[in-house]
């Protein structure tokens, strides 16, 4: 069924989320809050070197220490064949993942795990780590992406030959693959252009910086059954990876998703779980592991940094005739940067006849990247949307007008193939035009920037169950970890279908043994895909309830209608019966066919793409180079906001992360390839006093493929901020800042250089 044009009672309201009280009282159980009988503490020994051969690891002394129950290193993990699959966020090579969890012959970045211990206390575990004797042969390392591509760079993987080029290279290199996308004839396009603008841009790797460090508790029983409690965006993903990496069957692994303290894409692969299971297997005890904040920065994945060039050609009237982009993305120590989406998203906002994009996936001695909100899109869009601003200036056309003229619409064919359908980009740009922020005069000394962003959003596999309890209340169970309020949105959709208040439905996240497979929480898919499954399950329950009412009244099921949470006889011909509510029907469930429940699993297609536009005003302290965000408005097509507060929250949070990416977040390496700022003191995420209020404007162009019209919302808001801020700085100072972060020293230096 489709409810897009229905009048809704629950969807679109702002009830208190079902897990809210637990989270404001300290009751909520996160992974590090769990304990088990006889539990040990597991800790990881990490490489101090950026690149080294492991000559030997001697664990004798550590193993002999009193209170140590297991010591493991690479030899304790099965060799995994090179095999790629799509289990987490993007293609993953199982061998790479295994090597990332525990190094074998080489360590490839500072922080790379190479051994682990389980001990009765954390202090003993620390002491044991210090007793592990490792002999390294330190190798030359490379950090920067362009250095890593250069001939003669230290090669990380002797068996890696660039794919996507022909003929196949004869020598290994750090370039894992080359990706190209072409539409039309870009050379001919540039020949037609009256104006051509070009720019080179760089971005730094940034970490998702979820406040909760990775943590898990694993137990390997003598019969081979494994239990894992963990902080993850996908417990089925943890099960799959752990099974694959350790050679255990999935039926022997049960993963319980703990409350998750933020992920943003960073908890879509495994780090600790296979290690904890191995320690537990070896020690015969449960093992709890948690990363320190320093571990999180050094050993878990940020997103890529990049070096990029962009070239755009346009007619004098502003019509873009050609666009070209070269993207070099850092993948970290193993291939797998988001170069594909990077190549696809940069120009996806525009209707362009001739496009040529080339992308490189490049390894270097940094932690393996992980997904981070709209992976690849913020990077590529920073470059494109900065250059669009330059084009507008050069043409003397207003930044919004230039975008309106070239905006992608329904029917626009993208440069990577698909045709945009049911998109709301025009509606977003209209909302910019009519917004008081855009119309307000600029204050003295302030600058204003505009930038836009696109993300595909995804659907995929989800399972949901709806149970009517014996008293008529409702439980909804799904396989989607709740990272930012999805229990609320799922419960609301179920409540809407059942015709009951939101509070009548409790939503829970079921473990891997208690619900059908559900792909991880990411790509802004949960409200869309899991919401679709839950909606359909609720619809099945309604059909069942109607059948039960019909049975009770002894009338045909067609003569029963369901309204406001109750079964009514449909019209006077059906008979005169008092309506039956959920409680009444549940009470007699035993007589009408037994327990009332429905489970639906879907592979949801048709996730509607999301578009956003951000307006940002800044002031710049011209002596210190400090940028202050004075006003910020984020406008986005969300399809349909199921719970508007959490939709706004996604947009505000995404924008805040983008502001950090733009102004202050970066990885700082010393000459030895060691990270110098592995902590919240010097890895500078925005704090409350850095931020203005962020006005989130919800544009609702329904996605016809979702029962309520929802689109994913979590990814898009992190895309526009970097360029919006860069464009605002350009407006305030005349300076084009092509390198992130646009930190005070860079701005002061640029001001000085400009005189």
């Amino acid at each position: 069924m489709n409810y897009i044009d229905s009048s809704l009672k629950v969807v679109g309201t702002r009830p208190i989320r079902p897990d809210g009280v637990d989270k404001v009282t300290g009751r909520a159980v996160f992974a590090a809050d769990t304990r088990a009988s006889g539990m040990l503490w597991g800790k990881v020994l990490r490489s101090p070197h950026a690149h080294a051969r492991i000559v030997s690891i001697d664990t004798t002394k550590a193993a002999a220490l009193k209170g140590v129950f297991a010591v493991v290193s690479g030899v304790d993990f099965p060799e995994i064949a090179s095999e790629e699959a799509f289990v987490g966020e993007g293609p993953m090579n199982f061998r790479d993942l295994s090597l990332n969890c525990m190094a074998r012959d080489k360590v490839l970045y500072e922080g790379h795990a190479l051994a682990a211990v389980a001990a009765s206390t954390q202090a003993i575990a620390d002491e044991a780590l210090a007793l592990i004797e490792v002999t390294y042969e330190v190798l030359p390392h490379v950090i920067d992406v362009e250095d890593a591509m250069a001939p003669g760079a230290p090669v990380l993987h002797a068996d890696m030959f660039t794919s996507g080029v022909s003929p196949k290279p004869e020598k290994p290199s750090n370039i894992a693959k080359v990706v190209t996308f072409k539409k039309g004839d870009v050379e001919a396009g540039f020949k037609e252009a009256d104006v051509i603008v070009e720019g080179s841009y760089t971005t730094q790797p940034v970490h998702q910086a979820y406040i909760e460090p990775h943590a898990c508790l694993a137990s390997y029983a003598p019969d081979g059954q494994v239990q894992i409690h963990t902080s993850t965006q996908g417990h089925f993903m943890v099960r799959a990876y752990t099974a694959k990496l350790l050679g255990i069957s999935m039926s022997n692994i049960r993963v319980n998703p703990a409350e998750i303290g933020g992920g943003f894409g960073g908890k879509t692969l495994v780090y600790l779980e296979p290690v904890a299971v191995t320690l537990s297997r070896k020690s015969g005890r449960s093992v709890k592991m948690q990363m320190t904040r320093e571990d999180v920065f050094r050993a878990s994945g940020p997103t890529s940094g990049a070096a990029m060039t962009v070239k755009i050609g346009a007619k004098k009237d502003g019509t873009i005739v050609a666009a070209q982009q070269v993207l070099k993305f850092q993948a970290g120590a193993f291939p797998g940067s988001p170069i594909g989406p990077g190549c696809m998203c940069g120009f996806a906002m525009y209707d362009l006849p001739n496009v040529d994009v080339v992308g490189y996936d490049v390894v270097s001695n940094r932690p393996k990247v992980a997904a981070y909100r709209a992976p690849g899109a913020p990077i590529t869009s920073f470059a494109v949307e900065s250059l669009m601003d330059e084009l507008a200036i050069k043409l003397g056309i207003d930044a919004l007008t230039l975008r309106e003229m070239n905006a992608a619409k329904n029917g626009t064919k993208t440069h990577y193939g698909p045709v945009h359908q049911n998109i709301g980009f025009t509606a977003v740009l209209d909302a910019v035009k009519s917004h008081p922020h855009w119309k307000s005069p600029l204050k003295e000394g302030h600058g204003r920037g505009l930038a836009t962003g696109f993300w595909f959003n995804i659907g995929g596999e989800s399972s949901a169950q709806v149970h009517v309890n014996e008293d008529g209340t409702v439980t909804a169970a799904t396989g989607s970890p709740d990272i930012g309020g999805s229990r609320a949105s799922i419960g609301m959709m179920v409540a809407e279908v059942l015709g009951v208040p939101a509070t009548a439905v409790r939503t829970i996240v079921a473990d891997t043994a208690s619900i059908g497979f559900t792909f991880l929480t990411g790509g802004s898919r949960v409200t869309f895909a899991t919401g679709m499954a839950a909606t359909q399950a609720a619809e099945k329950v309604v059909e069942d309830l109607k059948r039960r009412a019909a049975q009770t009244w002894d009338i045909p099921v067609e003569a029963v209608e369901w309204k406001d949470g109750m079964a009514y006889p449909a019209g006077s011909n059906a008979g005169a019966f008092e309506p039956l509510d959920l409680a009444a029907l549940a009470l007699k469930a035993g007589r009408t066919g037994g327990p009332i429940l429905a489970e639906v699993s879907v592979n949801a297609q048709g996730a509607g793409p999301g578009f956003g536009a951000h307006i940002c005003d800044v002031s710049v302290d011209k002596e210190t180079g400090h940028v202050k965000i004075e006003r910020y408005t984020a406008i986005q097509d969300v399809g349909k906001a199921i719970h508007p507060s959490y939709v706004e929250g996604q947009i505000q949070g995404g924008a805040a992360q983008g502001i950090g990416w733009a102004l202050s977040e970066e990885y700082i390496y010393n000459t030895k390839g060691q990270m110098e700022n592995a902590g919240f003191l010097d890895y500078r995420v925005p704090v409350a006093s850095d931020m203005p209020m962020i006005e989130a404007v919800l544009v609702e162009v329904p996605n016809p493929r979702h029962p309520f019209g929802a689109r994913g919302v979590g990814e898009v808001p992190i895309i526009p901020p970097m360029a919006a801020i860069a464009n605002a700085i350009r407006s305030a100072t005349g300076l084009r800042m092509p390198d992130l972060p646009m930190s005070p020293p860079k701005i002061r230096a640029a001001l000085d250089a400009a005189g």
Binding site: A123, I124, E127, E294, E623, T624, H626, L663, S664, I668, E676, N677, F680, L681, D682, R684, P686, V687, S689, D690, S743, P744, P745, R748, A749, D752
Partner: protein, 295 residues
């Protein structure tokens, strides 16, 4: 495994004896906001922690013959709530207030900030500018030394193993005197100073500076007291020429390094910028013109 002991003596003598008698590394704990971080990271592995907070007088603020005396372990939040200090030494108060978060303010102390001996410590340039002295106690008794003689290098102080600071004494304030402190950080809070600057001045009735002390943080291995900068101010109002000279001498005094928090070039330029801005606030205050906090 080395075990870590803890003692919370209730007298100076007991504390000194504990420090003197420790075979391994002994650390004085007041607020612990640096010490605990260093212990956790493994940079420091003490065998004994001497918590001095139970020693009478080490926490609290009193006035003696017109001079303020601040207990060495007094938390930042207590100093900030003291009306008299806010009136006489607004710069020192705001400097202490800039250390860390509200949470850190509940614990951090002037002595800790000084003895951690970071060149970027926020309260230290303000203490230097104020001309504060420290009352140091140890097995050889009690001594009073200017604060600028305490830090000797990053993480190093002139205190003997069995010595610790009991309290700080601020000089009696002449009329038309005030101070100010600013630091530059990339964010608005929670960062370590890229550059810090504290200035204390006394003016005459015409607004001409008669006494000045200028201090810069994070531009050399220790916090600097910049006499040349004070000389530029003394005998002048804060006109454009004086400001330009102040900027130049502040920059000239810098001997910074390039690290994750700033470059040599940037730190040097910012030292000049801050010196001008801080002087303007201090002069305004001394002239009786109110200023808000230097956030």
């Amino acid at each position: 495994m080395t075990s870590l002991s803890y003692a919370a003596p209730t007298s100076v003598d007991d504390a000194v004896k504990l420090l003197a008698g420790s075979a391994g590394l002994a650390k004085v704990l007041s607020g612990g906001t640096d010490l605990l971080v260093q212990m956790r990271s493994g940079r420091l592995k003490p065998e004994l922690i001497v918590d001095t907070k139970k020693i009478p007088g080490i926490i609290g603020i009193r006035e003696e013959n017109g001079a303020f005396i601040i207990g060495a372990g007094t938390p930042g939040a207590v100093v900030e709530a003291h009306a008299g200090l806010n009136a006489a030494w607004p710069g020192l108060v705001e400097a202490l207030d800039l250390i860390g978060s509200t949470q850190v303010q509940g614990r951090c102390s002037l002595a800790g900030n000084l003895c951690n001996a970071s060149p970027a410590a926020d309260s230290v340039p303000a203490l230097f500018a104020a001309g504060a002295t420290a009352i140091i106690v140890g097995s050889k008794g009690r001594r009073e030394v200017p604060v600028e003689q305490i830090p000797t290098g990053p993480g190093r102080t002139s205190l003997a193993k069995d010595e610790f600071i009991l309290e700080f004494k601020l000089p009696v304030r002449p009329a038309r005197s005030s101070d100010a402190y600013l630091r530059f950080i990339p964010r608005t809070e929670m960062d370590i100073a890229v550059v810090g600057c504290g200035i204390s001045v006394t003016l005459d009735a015409n607004g001409v500076c008669t006494a000045a002390r200028v201090s810069l943080g994070a531009v050399a291995p220790t916090v600097l007291l910049v006499q040349e900068a004070a000389d530029v101010l003394i005998g002048h109002t804060l006109d454009a020429d004086t400001l330009a000279k102040l900027d130049a001498v502040a920059q000239a005094a810098c001997k910074p390094i390039t690290d994750k928090r700033g470059t040599i070039e940037y730190r040097t330029k910012i030292a000049g910028v801050l010196a001008r801005r801080v002087a303007a606030i201090a002069f305004d205050r001394a002239n009786g013109i109110k200023n808000g906090k230097a956030h």
